[in-house]
Symmetry: C2
């Protein structure tokens, strides 16, 4: 063995000994700064249980790469010992060759579990659930249940919810919390401490966002996932849901910014991948915005007669985009929180129409004052018809802000209705949609007010 | 008693009987559709324990209004029985008169606890913590601890984390989970089952976002809040943190949309309150955007000579805003997730500068092709110098998209450095800041390329 290979090994031993005492989340943070070869070395040097704990953290970024570098029997042992949902995530990150190589090293039970988990669609309850939960037949006593929990505690993701099954059909009949269980009479049947109601359940196809909503609404530690026959096949725990919520928020904020969701941390995604995620929407928006050039060509006679009108084009167009952006983010969030649903679209119109008119009037007034001030103070001479120009700008602002609010609030509804994510109604998309109409409104108001004088 | 008063009472009795069997979160949903008088009636008719459970839900919107309508002794009893953190929230919503009236009805302990909770700054750990937790002296045995938990279980928000105190100093020394506790030998001291490390703690001033980060990072059910002497004064539980995360996301999305955070659901906030939250930023942005009018006045000679240039103003300005909006939302989210910190600003520049140049070149190429196509196909005649005009548009797009990416990515850093919320770097704000410079870049490139021909 040459020195270059020896060095990381020695280092790994030292690092592993130091790390073994740390909190697992801090170990992960340290490992995330290393390359996958170093991570693999350290995982081998850590005590086995500790290494499994580390691998179980979804925050460990290069887990798949590191496991692929380990001897097959060790990697197989790790994957078998890891929680099933996390092992499935890691499996998804393997290349085909590694997946086949390591799959052969798993025991049959683990292989079957993984196969099932991997078959569920992305972002579904099935894909984030774990199969390590506590279930007992309803015929057991409280004491039997507690003894069982003590035995399996270390191999279960949570023992705070105990699922009580019908002994004959294996159907899920009740869920009881550990806190209620320990308060019960040990000799009494477990059925004596269960609540009166059936637990809230989801099917594996349910979207993770809806699972998050249930966990939040009912303040649950976990939600059982059941099959068509009401048999429990896994649970989704609150920490999986928190992770899912953070990921969803990141996606939404990036979509709101007018791009595709990165799906990777900003400082880890490759340069070309990032360009791809951004260039698509930028190009589409540019193509849409080209309609403004066509609209301007259409109004060219007006422009040439009253070049003073061009001065206010950016100001007027951006106000429409801004009010649209406000309305869009309000509605996207209200839809996400289920404060409003698709059928409330007309309520929103009844709200946004007067809002737009009031906001537009405020901006219109500011615009008129600005032009009047500049004229009086002699900063700029808008000519003899400056009052009509001010009226045009003010009137256009009312029209455009109202139109922007309507457009911005309806776009998320339209997208959702068409089956898209309402969060794709980004501020840039709304602004682009409002811009062309904004020009038409502006020149329309100008034609109305200025015809016979400037036009 | 006349019929009008009788009717809601009778109704409340019926409704209360039906609701008593429902899940508490569903009762809250039903109550949220009623007015506060009806809620008050129903609360009185529900079994006491059930009513307290309902009042303990932060989702019950009109809890303060309903309590204010109840007889004082009943309201006082409810407030005393409610969890301390929730009672403090409700107290904050009372008007001064009700606060004083009901404060007199509380027992001394509750009054002191509430006073302390209300003194913590908004959004701090102290303001969302509960004082109902389980702590035991380190001299107790596992059995003593379990017996104690059984006794107090119903009055504690969570019993899954047990805090072990030094019997002399009352300092927090360890935290142990209930799952580990029940696995221990009942006769052994509780110290035999505690982990080797001190628990993760926060002080009451810590922001709720940082508490959320700790709970997420370390997969905790609750975090203890300690005073300067390391004595535990409360705990923040994961469900408080989920609620806080949802509220923070709502604030961020609304700020990103270019407005103040509503702080109330869209369908509940008053019309004028909403106008106020939106009009402020719209007006500021309009005032900022007025600089574009000044910039255009400055370039008026160029505009008059080459009116064809005005056709592309909206297109060019919006592209700068769009690329800025992308960069801003990327950086806001990366900062929120701590993927990058303030000191990484130069790393971001090194990333955004080439990104901007590549994205700008893509858009520039599209712009040039568009102009060339229209010219060749005869859709529009840009005159004999159409190639130079195309080059101007292409060059300006490269400059503006690069500038937009830089501006959009640096603004969140600048805001954070100055002590503001980086999420205030909204898409509309970035667009407005980029617009004025965008015009200068456009006319600068035009002067360079077109001087001697069109200009």
């Amino acid at each position: 063995m040459n020195e270059i290979e020896l060095a990381p090994d020695l280092l790994s031993v030292v690092v592993a000994r130091t790390l073994a005492e740390e909190h697992v989340a801090d170990i992960v943070e340290t490992l995330n700064e290393q390359d996958s070869a170093t991570i693999a070395h350290i995982l081998q040097e850590l005590p086995f249980e500790r290494a499994v704990e580390v691998l179980d953290q979804p925050e460990l970024a290069d887990a798949a790469e590191a496991l692929a570098l380990l001897p097959e029997d060790r990697a197989g042992a790790f994957l078998t010992a890891m929680s099933a949902d996390r092992a499935a995530d890691v499996f998804q990150d393997f290349d085909d060759e590694t997946r086949q190589r390591l799959s052969a090293r798993l025991d049959r039970q683990t292989r079957t579990d993984l196969g099932k988990l991997l078959a569920y669609p992305e972002h579904s309850a099935g894909s984030i659930m774990t199969t390590e939960f506590v279930s007992v037949p309803s015929t057991w006593t409280v004491q039997q249940t507690l003894d069982y929990i003590r035995r399996v505690e270390r191999s279960r993701e949570t023992v705070y919810a105990i699922y009580v099954l019908d002994p004959a059909t294996k159907k899920l009949v009740r869920a009881v919390s550990l806190r209620r269980l320990i308060s019960g009479d040990p000799a009494a049947p477990v059925e004596s401490v269960v609540p009166a109601h059936k637990p809230i359940t989801v099917t594996p196809e349910v979207d993770r966002e809806d699972v998050a909503r249930l966990i939040t609404k009912y303040d649950l530690l976990s939600v059982p996932v059941v099959d068509a026959e009401d048999r429990i096949i896994g649970i989704v725990t609150f920490d999986d849901v928190i992770d899912a919520m953070i990921a969803e928020t990141t996606e939404d904020v990036q979509k709101l910014g007018g791009m595709e969701a990165l799906d990777e941390p900003y400082n880890e995604i490759g340069f070309l991948a990032m360009i791809r995620k951004r260039a698509g929407w930028l190009s589409i928006l540019l193509l849409g915005e080209m309609l403004t050039a066509s609209a301007m060509q259409f109004f060219q006679t007006e422009l040439e007669k009253a070049i003073v009108l061009t001065l206010f084009i950016p100001l007027i167009m951006s106000s429409g985009g801004n009010s649209g952006s406000q309305a869009t983010s309000l509605i996207i969030r209200a839809l996400a929180l289920r404060e409003i649903t698709l059928k409330d679209w007309w309520r929103v119109i009844l709200r946004e129409l007067p809002s737009g008119l009031v906001l537009g009037s405020i901006l219109g007034a500011i615009g008129i004052v600005r032009i009047a001030l500049w004229q009086w103070l002699g900063f700029y001479d808008y000519g003899p018809h400056w009052m009509l120009i001010a009226a045009t700008v003010g009137g256009a602002l009312i029209g455009i802000v109202t139109f922007g609010s309507m457009m911005g609030s309806m776009l998320p509804f339209l997208l959702k209705r068409a089956g898209f994510d309402p969060a794709s109604a980004s501020a840039p998309l709304v602004a682009t949609l409002v811009d062309v109409t904004g020009l038409v409104i502006y020149f329309g108001v100008a034609a109305l007010i200025l015809s016979g004088t400037l036009l």
